[in-house]
């Protein structure tokens, strides 16, 4: 079942097929079903590596680049991933669903402004 959809019991379908997701930098790897975003599957398993933000394609902290394999992407804020970037494998992990095993690198991160020392953002 996709993120943002109400919970319901349903028989396993093709979307539930598991793919292996590997983070190039750390070697971290985890299983992700085809109907779960790369980010949701990671945080649901308690794994780390891709920064976790809004899970809605709006904030951009979970930006990745797919190095091997392929993903299906839902709408992502063009402020963070341009059409050109998407064509070369960039995506937001919260909007990317695996179509095969995937090897990726983490591009995004939590933005720490100059003002971090002022306590807040």
């Amino acid at each position: 079942m996709a993120d943002g959809e109400p919970r319901q019991s349903m028989p396993a379908q093709d979307g539930a097929r598991l793919h292996r997701i590997t983070l190039r930098e750390t070697g971290e790897s985890y299983a992700c079903a085809g109907d779960r975003s790369l980010l949701k599957a990671m945080v649901a398993l308690g794994r780390r590596g891709i920064p976790s933000g809004c899970h809605g394609g709006g904030c951009g902290v979970c930006k990745i680049r797919v190095l091997e394999g392929s993903v299906r992407c839902e709408a992502m804020s063009r402020s963070h991933v341009s059409v050109e970037e998407q064509a070369t494998g960039y995506a937001l992990a919260c909007r990317a669903y695996p179509l095969s095993d995937v090897v990726l690198e983490v591009v995004g991160g939590m933005r720490k402004g100059l003002t971090r020392r002022y306590g807040l953002l």
């Binding site: 943002g4 109400p6 709408a75 933005r111 402004g113 002022y118 807040l120 953002l121």
Partner: protein, 317 residues
Amino acid sequence: MGVMRIGHINLRVLDMQAALRHYRDVLGMVPTDEDHKGNVYLKCWDEWDKYSVMLSPADRAGMNHVAYKVERDSDLDDIKARIRDYGREVEELAPGELPYCGRALRFKMPSGHLMYLYADKEFVGTSVGTLNPDPWPDDIRGAGAHWLDHVLLLCELNPEAGVNKVVENETFFRDVLGFRLTEQLMAGPDKSVKALAFMTVSIKPHDIAFVGGPCNGLHHCSFFLEDWGDVLRAADVMGKNRVKMDVTPQRHGITRGKTIYFFDPSGNRNETFAGLGYAAYPDMPVITWTDDQIGSAIFYHTGEIHEAFTAVYTEGY
């Protein structure tokens, strides 16, 4: 006289059907209209004007504008003059240019966020009406939010470069729009940098708030619930609907609000909160927090800041 309350927020969304499911089924808002551009208008059951949320289809998330309602039409003339005297630009729009509203003022806050003021908006009425009303209607969905309560805007703060848009906004809202400071957070080595300003134009703890950050942004828009039980139930609704939650039910130090932070399907952060904390009468002394206690100021129970809360936001322009 002058600005009364928040009127609406215009949010950009990446997927209108997903956004509609969220604001209607999770927050419990009532869709009231859709225009030829695909904008969708919604109100909460306890609100009487036609909309407090306007959703606009877009390819990037964030806020287009926020609008506040003034008490009388003549307030618009007074405020327009005050904005000009203050040395800032302001446009007057004909009735209808701001959807379903009378004439309006449009201007930018010092932080760059776009703001409108209007005196009239199409009236719809609350879901319980005004004649011997029930306390709540039977067709409440989801969290059953009562009203859009406030927005928290990210404002550029870079003291080394002499930039503090939190203070610039606070000054503008105080001197031109008649808002009052209720709470502030002072930061830096000698606690001289104002990094947070909460302001009211009513007796609520805040009708708008400004927080320092690396750039202009939308931190969240917030919806009111009646009590702690409603907050827990709202979190249950979010769990049922697999809504991405940022902060599960908690208490704020600032405002004393009992809160949940979560995201709409486009990544715009929402809050539902209960408890108006205190009555911020005009003679209430300003509350000050210091950045060594920032964890408690924001999340009173844990006293800890978590990274996503402060580093994750959408655009505010």
